[in-house]
Symmetry: C2
DNA sequence: TATAAATATCTATATATATTGATATGACTA
DNA sequence: TAGTCATATCAATATATATAGATATTTATA
């Protein structure tokens, strides 16, 4: 497999991770260096805890988010702040 | 359904359209206001004609590309030039 | 160590997307 | 109008992702 193809696949995996309504909302929530716990996110978005946790783990596994545990809480944040730009950009392109 | 949710769904549909290796390659190919026919695209990417046509129609249906027919040729181009930024951005975030 | 709070995982079903090869449609041109 | 070039669609199978509910794991604290 060519290097170029590998890059395309990796980039599309990351985009695919973001390309879901709940996960897009999570990325939006974490703009501007915000750090939020699973509980804070599930309450902010009004979704089940298990649902939030599930989507957060997808975003983490695909390199979109990172996590720091502090006691009982897990604080998630954008691994690359730049990724928030994608959300802004795609929102601007909705005619 | 709330207006906010509708926006999230639309934005994620558009991102989902781009989140595929071949379709990402197509968007990259069409940066800088380029216009390319189906044949030119399938040759440039070294994929079957039917495959190119299929992915182009997905991108068109999800609002990523537009098309102009000129005789036998269909020229595809980015509907919003801004969308190329997404590709640049996600590429920069591959560590 | 028993309990509670926070988070993650599992199971099952439903739904969507990808892939491939074959074929159909549309539009010029000899 | 028959042929051919360009593009689109179809059909079938495989693979992946989503959704929801139940339950397990981890950590702190009484």
């Amino acid at each position: 497999m060519t290097n170029e193809l590998t890059k395309l696949i990796q980039a599309s995996e990351m985009l695919k991770a973001i390309a879901h309504p709940i996960r897009l909302a999570i990325v939006q929530l974490l703009e501007n260096d915000k750090r939020m716990s699973v509980t804070a996110i599930h309450e902010a978005l009004n979704i089940e805890q298990a649902v939030a946790s599930h989507h957060l783990s997808i975003l983490k596994n695909k390199g979109v988010l990172s996590v720091d545990r502090e006691g009982k809480h897990c604080f998630y944040f954008l691994k690359h702040q730049r990724l928030a730009e994608i959300v802004v950009c795609v929102n601007k392109c909705q005619e």
